[in-house]
Amino acid sequence: MIDNISWLAVYPEIVLLVMGCVIALVDLGVASSRRTATYVLTVLTLGVVAALEALYATSGNTFYGWGNMVVSDAMGNWLKCFAALAMIATLVYGRPYAADRDMLRGGELFTLAIFATLGMFVMISANNFLVIYLGLELLTLSSYALVALRRDHEASVEAAMKYFVLGAMASGFLLYGMSMLYGATGSLDIGEVFKAINAGQIRHQVLVFGLVFIVAGLAFKMGAVPFHMWIPDVYHGAPTAVTLIIGGAPKLAAFAVTIRLLVDGLLPLAIDWQQMLAVLAIGSLFVGNVMGVMQSNLKRMLAYSTISHMGFMLLGLMSGVVNGQVDAATAGNAYSSAMFYVVTYVLTALPAFGVIVLLAREGFESEEIDDFAGLNQRSPLYAGVMAVCLFSLAGIPPLVGFYAKLSVLQALVASGSGFNIALAVYAVIMSLIGAFYYLRVVKVMYFDQPLTASTVAAPMDVRMVLTFNGALVLVLGLLPGGLMALCTDAIVRALAS
């Protein structure tokens, strides 16, 4: 029986669920091909949910609901708030593109976006293996459908197939690992699993066996090497507006799940998963940065860049435990650096994809790097936003991406192990290689002559959000203290509970 229902913990999810259904119904009555009513309603819903989460987060309470199935803590609240905001930005950038390609005909884009957000929310606040799985499936099923939204477009359909097959396999891995742990510990509750493992009664081999599958499943979802193969194809094949959706907010959910599973649940096995994360990170940094250099398609390049950034984030996650000794300060430092990394990554990747979406005129997918030639002469504002994002992704100060890299490197060096310091040096060298391909895009935008003289026009909402988003990358670079403190605080409180 479920005692302690505590509806408060799930209000935002309920809002999303109800509004998802309402929007689907309202959409039936909307005739306009641009779906303005549905769009406004969706954005408003997400805005309300984001505000609600921010309110929860600032109140700072941690409480459990639904018989410990879900948890509402500062980390989760902030991540959900950011995910909702990221989704708003995504929809604002993506709508004109989708409208031009007749993807708004049925209004599914918005309903699916709401349900994907709901999936993320469930993942982020889950305190139980099954709930994590439910959230994950809700998110990924919505994403499969989104990728296939252009039914008549061959590349999209192929990408959706790949995504579905590999995604289902990853879910299988994860589920299998969870069932192993359930068998070993007798519980699906993350807290109970932790206690059972900590008690030390269970055979190590069984646990590690389950752990391997869980990490592999997570790596698949995150796109870490060697489970990264789907990322470039799916990012490339999906309609750009959808690439935005799968490349943005879900990273926050993936981070939350990793923390919940590995840190909240399996911390006693840290010495085991640490090694796995290190291998994933080393591979991701290498493949992401080296393969990225060879791409001529901007979406593929950003896909590889995602892989490398996930590798960097994993470095932060794995540096929290030193020699199997769990120390609250070190762990808080490391996990908050990873959280800061992933939040700023999403913040920076969104406008980068946003500019690609913006440039894609009807019937012409502007996604080759050469399509950006001379953008500065055509539209200095958008070129500026893109340049800021690219320099930030490359980790050049004073942009926010630099502090993200700095905090992860700091966590690595602070852990004091020689191996971690070597990893820091390795990561630095890899980011130098990465800097090359970001610079190349800047070069194309600023140094090359434009192929057309047409300027880039954008609706008012796109222009405003894009400018604001790009400015945020710069402003948070000048004053990163607030966001950093927020991440630290959230992680510290999440670990304390």
Binding site: L406, S407, K443
Partner: protein
């Protein structure tokens, strides 16, 4: 906000304003706004000069405010005798560059001027940062405007040069970043540079830190053999870019040696001094010879820059006050002289569109006023007494002779090479009968160019004839630095 903050943010604010101006804006308005911004930037550095207290090694005009709480980073600014002169120098060179680029940049003027003003503020930030991370942020941020300046307004091979510049310097800086993080952790969570100076470090740690910093600063100076990016970049960069690069940006690296390498790792600095001295002498002699055979004027001056910066590092690492002060004086003097040399090349390039030495000859016949200025700067470049170039070189050579006779002798040969390549180039470009029709059609410099070169000429002569104000300021700080470096951190 203190004076230093104004010195940093005034040009940046004007630069941002320029960037925000649309393309439809009048080019004239853009230029005037840039000039006002540069002059305002210079004006706010002037109170620094009158307010600076000579005779103390303490940091002055200190500002300190929390910046990033989580890492204990402070917005911490201040100048002492080592860094003081570079603040007004940067602002001064920015004014010069804005005036010098007045007419020869016609494309995307607002972005060009904006980039220079922002660059100016960032470089002043490097010279006044007392927080390790703040320093790094300013140091790295300068790459972005410079990359764009080279890449957008540069010559035919500009893209190669822009990438080479960016990636070379970024690689060096990233290793430095690791060292900065290491020091942060060693010091128990502080980015305060002055606290790092007091940090006890083991011999191995010092060596590693020293070389991690060396990676960034040696590339930036640039020291032989990591200097190869400089000639490529100079050749491709627009005139203003070359002038700022030579006059200020190279000094960021040399300044880093003074502020980080020597005081933080004094034992390693002394232990490896032979290496730096060796590389510096190689730069002075070998690169001096390389300069002599160049056919491209900009390349020649670029190699001559490497040789002159060799004097700076040589002066620093022989560890006596004359050497260190000489190095700093040489940095300032090179700022005036090399900036002026590149602007002279720019004057010719604007008219003939060639940087080949062979494309000229007898320029002085058609451009007598310009020839007179050029002669002065060439003389300063080869260290003629009475010009700025003489003071620093003379101090360094004197210090080197004190340190070791043969080192001094080797360094002194630089005067010969300097004279040889400078005068030979002067002869080939300026003297004799007009070489070709292009030269015969040349018009002498206009009032604007006269103003630019005149200002630099005054500075060069003033510093050469009466260097006391320059050296007075740095004496106490240099003495304190050397005293600090002389004490071993190993016990």
């Amino acid at each position: 906000m203190g004076l230093l903050s104004f010195a940093i943010w005034t040009p940046i604010a004007f630069g941002c304003m320029l960037l925000l101006m649309g393309r439809e804006e009048d080019v004239k308005a853009v230029r005037w706004l840039a000039l006002i911004g540069a002059l305002a930037g210079l004006a706010v550095t002037l109170p620094l000069y009158t307010g600076f207290e000579v005779g103390t090694a303490a940091m002055q005009f200190v500002e300190k405010a929390p910046w990033i709480g989580r890492f204990n980073v402070f917005y911490h600014l201040g100048v002492d005798g080592l860094s003081f002169w570079f603040v007004p120098l940067t602002a001064f060179i920015t004014v010069i560059v804005v005036i010098a680029s007045w007419q020869n940049i016609t494309e995307r003027v607002n972005q060009y001027m904006g980039a220079f003003l922002i660059l100016s503020g960032l470089m002043i930030g490097v010279f006044s940062a007392l927080d390790g991370l703040l320093f790094y942020v300013f140091f790295e941020a300068t790459l972005i405007p410079m990359y764009l300046i080279i890449g957008i307004w540069g010559g035919p091979n500009k893209i190669y040069a822009a990438f080479k510049f960016f990636l070379y310097t970024l690689l060096g800086s990233l290793l430095t970043l690791i060292a900065i993080i290491y020091l942060y952790i060693q010091s128990g969570g502080s980015f305060d540079i002055q606290a790092w100076h007091q940090l006890p470090l083991s011999s191995t740690a010092q060596t590693l830190v020293f070389f991690a910093f060396f990676a960034a600063f040696a590339v930036k100076v640039p020291m032989w053999p990591v200097h190869t990016w400089l000639p490529d970049v100079h050749v491709e960069a627009p005139t203003g870019g070359s002038a700022v690069l030579a006059a200020i940006m190279l000094k960021l690296g040399a300044y880093g040696f003074l502020r980080f390498s020597m005081p933080i790792a004094p034992d390693a600095a002394r232990e490896w001094a032979w290496l730096i001295i060796g590389l510096s002498l190689t730069a002075v002699i070998y690169v001096g010879l390389v300069a002599m055979v160049q056919k491209d004027m900009k390349k020649l001056v670029a190699y001559s820059s490497v040789a002159h910066m060799g004097f700076v590092t040589l002066g620093f690492f022989i560890f006596n006050d004359l050497g260190v002060s000489g190095g700093i004086v040489q940095m300032i003097a090179h700022g005036f002289v090399s900036g002026a040399m590149f602007l002279c090349i720019g004057v010719l390039y604007d008219r003939v569109h060639s940087r080949e030495i062979a494309a000229y000859g007898g320029v002085v016949n058609t451009m007598p006023k310009f020839g007179a200025f050029a002669l002065l700067f060439f003389m300063a470049n080869c260290g003629l007494p009475g010009t700025a170039g003489f003071v620093g070189e003379w101090m360094v050579i004197l210090a080197a002779v004190k340190f070791n006779f043969w080192t001094g002798l080797a360094a002194a040969t630089a005067l010969i090479w300097g004279a040889a390549y400078s005068l030979w180039m002067f002869k080939r470009v300026y003297l004799g009968a007009p070489g070709n029709a292009n030269v015969r059609a040349l018009k002498d410099i206009n009032g604007r160019e006269f103003l630019v070169l005149g200002l630099l000429a005054v500075a060069t002569l003033y510093m050469g004839i009466y260097p006391k104000p320059f050296t007075d300021v740095m004496d106490a700080s240099v003495a304190q630095l050397l005293q600090h470096v002389a004490q071993s951190k190993l016990h």
